[in-house]
């Protein structure tokens, strides 16, 4: 579905993306996980034709994104990280404009807008000015808008950032449903739980480089399925990784008594990130 080769983007002194190689398969939910400033949005902007790369190639469904932007543009839907609605227009008018831009005519247009507003539960707000909607509603409208031309590929840039837990879960449901309905989803996130709960495969990006790639399970297996946290006085916790509980328990029993707090738990993607970078995803 998407093939990225040696993709590099340089902004002045900043190397936002470095020699990125990646393939996203048809039908999957792929998660691009990384801290703020890792290069997620930059990559997404290149994939969606908004930014030209410094070097490297991208193909979407066989079209070259850099030389055939017009062919590529009809193939995907995008929900950007920042709000990108015309706030002077109503919910319906935003949808209408986008439908026209995608050359969807007359009756079909009205039918699809009504259907999609229903899908994201915004039907009763159709005639509201966007400015007056809540954050979660604006997000849902952006998703509905991205679906108007029934794209088989969806880009979602930090779709749930800034939303409360309940709205986030509803959005996850929506994303799963869209995936079941046949859409390939490429999403970025800096939430560990989001990548784990939602994505079939995860690529971890850090300082513009892809440092790990695989299913959440595979990635956890790489560091070890069980994590032991030990805490000595006045220090950050130390993490120790083990392939299974038995090995972890053996280790804990062998520890000297001055090592204080000890937790034994399943490893998660945060551990993968810490192991690879020495930092937490949430650190800036």
């Amino acid at each position: 579905m998407i093939i990225i080769e040696k993709l590099t983007k340089v902004y002045g002194e900043v190397r936002a993306v470095k020699k990125l190689n990646l393939e996203v398969y048809s039908g999957e939910i792929f998660g691009f996980l990384g801290p703020n400033g890792a290069g997620k949005t930059t990559t997404l902007r290149i994939l969606t034709t908004l930014t030209k790369p410094t070097s490297g190639c991208v193909w979407i469904k066989g079209f070259d994104v850099i030389t055939q932007p017009l062919q590529v543009k009809g193939e995907f839907g995008v929900v950007q990280q920042h709000l990108s609605l015309d706030r002077e227009l109503t919910v319906w008018e935003n949808m209408e404009l986008h439908a026209r831009l995608h050359h969807i005519g007359g009756v079909e247009r009205r039918r699809r807008i009504a259907e999609l507003l229903d899908y994201v539960e915004l039907s009763q707000y159709a005639n509201q000015i966007v400015e007056n909607l809540s954050g979660g509603m604006k997000r849902r409208l952006m998703i509905a808008r991205a679906l108007i031309h029934r794209p088989k590929l969806l880009f979602l840039d930090e779709p749930t950032v800034g939303l409360d837990a309940q709205t986030r879960r509803r959005l996850w449901e929506l994303i799963r449903r869209m995936n079941l309905d046949g859409a390939t989803v490429f999403l970025t996130t800096h939430y560990i739980e989001e990548a784990e709960a939602l994505c079939h495969r995860v690529g971890i990006i850090y300082q513009g480089q892809l440092i790990a790639l695989g299913s959440p399970l595979e990635l956890r297996q790489q560091v070890g399925m069980t994590t032991v946290e030990t805490l000595s006085d006045n220090k950050d916790p130390d993490y120790h990784y083990f392939s299974d509980r038995a090995a972890a328990t053996a280790y804990v029993q062998s520890l000297p008594p001055e090592v204080k707090t000890i937790t034994t738990r399943d490893s998660n993607l945060e551990d993968v990130f810490v192991e690879l970078t020495g930092r937490k995803v949430g650190d800036d």
Binding site: T49, L50, T51, K73, G74, S84, D86, H98, H103
Partner: protein, 217 residues
């Protein structure tokens, strides 16, 4: 609003009893003010909303990601300026006729329409290049304001020394004023000026296409 003030200040205030090129100053200045109106209305209508859409609402990105060619995109963004420019300058034309009878032929509409297109393209170009809202205001005061006073609206180029004439002729608005004025005063139509308007318009349009093609950042 400002064209009405110009009309009051320059047409009535300054110009009473004055004559330029053998006609009353009022007759001279009204077609110039219509050209000026077309310029500012078209530029602002096409430029301001695009500027806000691009930098504040960010919804211009969405249009850039839709399967629409740069050509139709620029044309679409300009048409709002053309439409508003035409409406406002036609309203002003009617006011002008009421104040001082003028000759108006179909040939009046052609340069007016082209003027609206040219300055709409210019507005779109400025909005595409602007990195902030301030940039638009700066562009207005650095480009539009000097054009307002130098663009052949308020005085005749025939009174100027040669060196200044050259400056006048590289200003697009001068050519619009001259075309409109020639029609209302019943003088021979300056086809070369019409060509110049088209030339400026094409240049701005090509500029827009190039900015969109480059479309990095």
């Amino acid at each position: 609003m400002s064209p009405l003030l110009y009309l009051l200040a320059f047409g009535y205030g300054l110009g009473r009893g004055m004559e330029v090129e053998g006609v009353s100053y009022l007759e001279f200045v009204i077609p110039g003010i219509i050209a000026l109106t077309a310029m500012t209305t078209s530029f602002n209508s096409a430029g301001m909303k695009l500027n806000v859409d691009r930098l504040f609402y960010k919804c211009f990105d969405e249009i850039l990601m839709a399967p629409v060619s740069p050509l139709s995109l620029i044309l679409g963004k300009s048409l709002i300026g053309v439409l508003r420019g035409l409406i406002v300058s036609l309203v002003f034309l009617i006011i002008g006729i009421a104040i001082s009878p003028m000759k108006v032929s179909p040939l009046f509409i052609l340069p007016l329409l082209l003027t609206c297109f040219t300055f709409s393209f210019m507005g779109v170009l400025a909005a595409l290049l602007a990195k902030s809202h301030q940039d638009m205001a700066t562009f207005s005061s650095l480009v539009l304001l000097p054009m307002t006073f130098l663009g052949g609206t308020f005085f005749s180029s025939s009174q100027l020394p040669q060196a200044l004439k050259v400056i006048l002729y590289i200003i697009p608005l001068t050519h619009s004023s001259q075309c409109l004025r020639a029609v209302t005063l019943g003088q021979p139509f300056p086809w070369l000026s019409l060509l110049a308007i088209v030339g400026f318009g094409l240049a701005f349009f090509v500029g827009c296409v190039m900015v969109l093609r480059r479309a990095s950042v």
